[in-house]
């Protein structure tokens, strides 16, 4: 048994080594993605292009504009909108918000009336727009408070208390104190790498043998199904684990995202996840006759759900119940939750045993289904 398994694994390693392009991609691209996630990407709402139409042209109106730009959230939009079409900058996407200060702004302030300004916000991206509106509110409020305080100081009357003086809100961030998105994305990235190496590569390499007929040759040999499956899958799992370790160490070195929990637990959970992935890969390979189909099925069952249904980027609780139920069908969700608990919170097994159990069940069911279908196809 051991010899035959070794022979199969040697063969698979040769396939992999013969193909340095793929090997390189499997190891280098995750690092590239990590660096992108670390340095290039953030979901912060900053650098919002703001177009300004100042019709008042007073020192006060300029002060308001300056206070907007000084906040750090806004950047002056390169092309100020012409006065005829106020929304032109929004239409072309040159600006995401337009601040319009009407004529008479300074005069209204001088009369101690409430001076309205108009802000047009491009609501396309609702989430960002909501944050931008929050910024606008906050900034005009602060500007007002400052103005009023200044005015009362000049007139000598007692300062009115602003809301900030009445209620002091002290936030404390518990995990990921610096609120770096990379710490949040690393678990998803690790899961993604493992999915690609263990599910997709396995499914494809099995189907490839079916397609070019070499499966027939192996099946007529005394190799047992379990040996065949292990021999085909373990080499890819090994590559996946190496890539995952690479990403974890790189994110520790480059971004200081260290493992807060037990490394041993991390290793154990990762192996469990890889087992589930391999089982899924084998199962998919029994569904497909061509690599093209195998790839599309595995993309639909693993790659895309990893991005969308695992909580990697999009929060699961926003989804309607039916879709939330669907998320339980993909192993990545469990693994990402475990990774986050281990990496960022340093939580103990008590907090993630549900997920671990789910992975175990998943691995067993997928392996059984794959083995059953495989055995049936062998007899045919």
């Amino acid at each position: 048994m051991r010899d035959r398994l070794a022979a199969l694994m040697r063969k698979e390693y040769r396939h992999i080594l013969r193909d340095p392009g793929t090997l390189f991609t499997l190891l280098a691209v995750p690092l590239f993605l990590l660096v992108m996630f670390g340095y290039a990407i953030s979901l912060d709402v900053n650098n919002i292009p703001l177009a300004v139409r100042d019709l008042d042209r007073s020192p006060e109106s300029r002060a308001l504009v300056a206070s907007f730009l000084a906040s750090g959230h806004f950047l002056p939009s390169p092309s100020p909108p012409d006065s005829r079409a106020e929304g032109r900058a929004l239409d072309t996407g040159a600006a995401m918000a337009v601040l319009e200060i009407p004529d008479g702004f300074a005069a209204a302030l001088a009369r101690r009336e409430t001076a309205p300004v108009q802000v047009l916000v491009d609501g396309s991206d609702g989430t960002r727009a909501a944050t931008v509106m929050g910024y606008v509110d906050g900034m005009t409020m602060r500007f007002s408070t400052d103005l009023r305080r200044l005015a009362s100081m000049r007139s000598g009357s007692p300062p009115a208390s602003g809301p900030a003086m009445v209620l002091d809100v002290r936030p404390r961030v518990l995990f990921n104190q610096e609120l770096k998105s990379v710490s949040f994305l690393v678990p998803g990235l690790v899961a993604l790498i493992l999915i690609i190496t263990s599910v997709i590569s396995t499914a494809l390499s099995v189907v490839r043998e079916k397609e070019n007929g070499s499966m027939e040759q192996i099946i007529v040999s005394p190799v047992r199904p379990i040996e065949l499956i292990l021999g085909k899958t373990l080499p890819y799992a090994a590559i996946g684990l190496v890539a995952a370790a690479l990403v974890l160490s790189a994110s520790a070195i480059l971004f200081g995202v260290t493992v807060k929990g037990s490394i041993l637990a991390l290793a154990a959970m990762t192996v469990l996840f890889v087992l589930a992935c391999l089982a899924l890969g084998i199962f998919i390979s029994t569904l497909a006759e061509t690599q093209q189909v195998a790839f599309l099925i595995s993309a639909m069952l693993t790659l895309i759900p990893t991005f969308t249904l695992s909580g990697f980027v999009f929060p699961i609780r926003n989804m309607p119940p039916a879709i939330q139920a669907v998320t339980y069908l993909f192993p990545t969700k469990y693994y990402i939750e475990i990774l986050r608990a281990l990496l960022l919170k340093g939580a103990g097994f008590g907090t993630y045993w549900h997920q671990a159990l789910a992975l175990l069940v998943y691995a067993v069911v997928a392996a059984a289904a794959g083995a059953a279908r495989f055995a049936r196809s062998r007899r045919k």
Binding site: V121, D125, D137
Partner: protein, 372 residues
């Protein structure tokens, strides 16, 4: 010309035979738009909130009520100790904790100014930031109402008031923004993968050898191979358009004809990329790796699909100009949300066409009618 027709006929005959491929081509886009449409929602709402009210005064209950009635939060837990609250957050049952100290009511009454504490789970950093801002805003507006009712100076109202008007998506639905993006993503994924496989597959099976010895010219081979995918992508576009209308009631504000025409400009470049992949890879496995890693991932990340381009450092922002999806996302969101027409969209269309032509040119140049 008749040779091209011959190639196309053959491609469709093969597709008709591929019994597993056909349902995938039809079901997959619809399923994806359905799932992604529901899943790709970045709104920060219903953040599970734990409240630890140490005061239990009328004021503290009013503050808690302000959070309860806010759309952003969902009270998931009423803790009776710090430990309990921390456990709720560590276990993931709550993502934000509101701690109201024992003296809250008294402090407010006396005018000394009160304090509250927020415990935030920073794991999901982007939502955490937004949730923190929302929580602060909820508390501040509570304070503002308090001042307004208590003092007379406040009755004068603020000095400056922003009147905000939201365009295009007034109720700020994330879905309306994400679905056109998903739509773009689907077109890209399907066309890149299918074309990259199409030619490599013939290479792997050996049929390419037989094709090469015929008088079929290089451009005829390539056009013949690509044309069916143009048709398939039109089908995918139609299916996803139909599905997003049927399931989400989201229809483009702009012209449908323009949408199809500009989508073809994207398809031009994604087909080119698939072609390029198939000229550099030896087998299908390689082709898939290359198309996922070299084209799809960078495009997903650097096109502005979820991650805003403004936030990227300058050198990486420069890179985004190479992504056809970047231009197409602006186009498709423009047509869906803003009803944009060509007078607004041409600055996006030109680079899109440029990239498409360049990529196709490169891959035709690289594609030799030889086996080496």
């Amino acid at each position: 010309m008749s040779r091209i027709r011959c190639m196309i006929t053959k491609e469709f005959q093969q597709l008709r035979r591929d019994r597993r491929m056909r349902p995938i081509l039809i079901i997959a886009p619809v399923m994806q738009i359905l799932i992604l449409g529901y899943a790709a929602d970045t709104e920060v709402r219903d953040v599970p909130l734990a409240i630890y009210d140490q005061d239990s005064s009328q004021q503290s209950r009013a503050l808690a009520q302000a959070f309860v009635s806010s759309r952003s939060f969902l009270v998931a837990d009423r803790s009776s100790s710090f430990g309990e609250m921390e456990a709720a957050i560590t276990g993931g049952h709550s993502e934000i904790g509101l701690v109201i100290p024992p003296s809250f009511g008294a402090d407010l009454e006396s005018g000394r100014g009160a304090q509250i504490q927020l415990l935030v789970d920073g794991t999901r950093s982007n939502t955490a930031t937004v949730a923190m801002a929302y929580a602060t805003a909820t508390a501040t507006s509570f304070a503002r109402r308090l001042i307004a009712s208590a003092t007379t100076i406040g009755a004068a109202g603020p000095a400056v008031e922003a009147r905000t008007r939201v365009w295009y998506n007034p109720d700020l639905k994330s879905r309306r923004f994400m679905i056109p993006g998903v739509f773009a993503l689907l077109i890209m994924v399907f066309t890149v993968i299918l074309t990259s496989l199409a030619i490599v597959k013939e290479k792997e099976i050996g049929t390419l050898e037989q094709l090469i010895v015929t008088p079929l010219a290089r451009h005829e081979l390539i056009i013949g191979k690509l044309a069916p995918f143009v048709i398939i992508s039109l089908v995918i576009i139609t299916l996803t358009l139909g599905a997003s209308w049927l399931f989400f009631g989201i229809v483009p504000r702009g012209s449908l004809g323009l949408l199809y025409a500009l989508s073809l400009a994207l398809v031009l470049s994604t087909l080119g990329m698939g072609l390029l992949v198939s000229t550099i890879s030896r087998n299908q496995q390689q082709a898939m790796m290359f198309s996922i890693f070299l084209f799809m991932f960078p495009m997903m990340i650097l096109s502005g699909f979820v991650f805003p381009i403004e936030n990227m450092p300058a050198p990486i922002r420069a890179l985004t100009y190479l992504m056809p999806l970047r231009y197409y996302l602006i186009i498709i969101r423009g047509i869906f949300l803003k009803g944009s027409d060509l007078s607004v969209l041409w600055p996006q269309l030109l680079p899109l066409l440029g990239i498409g032509t360049a990529v196709i040119g490169i891959s035709i140049a690289r594609f030799h009618k030889q086996l080496d």
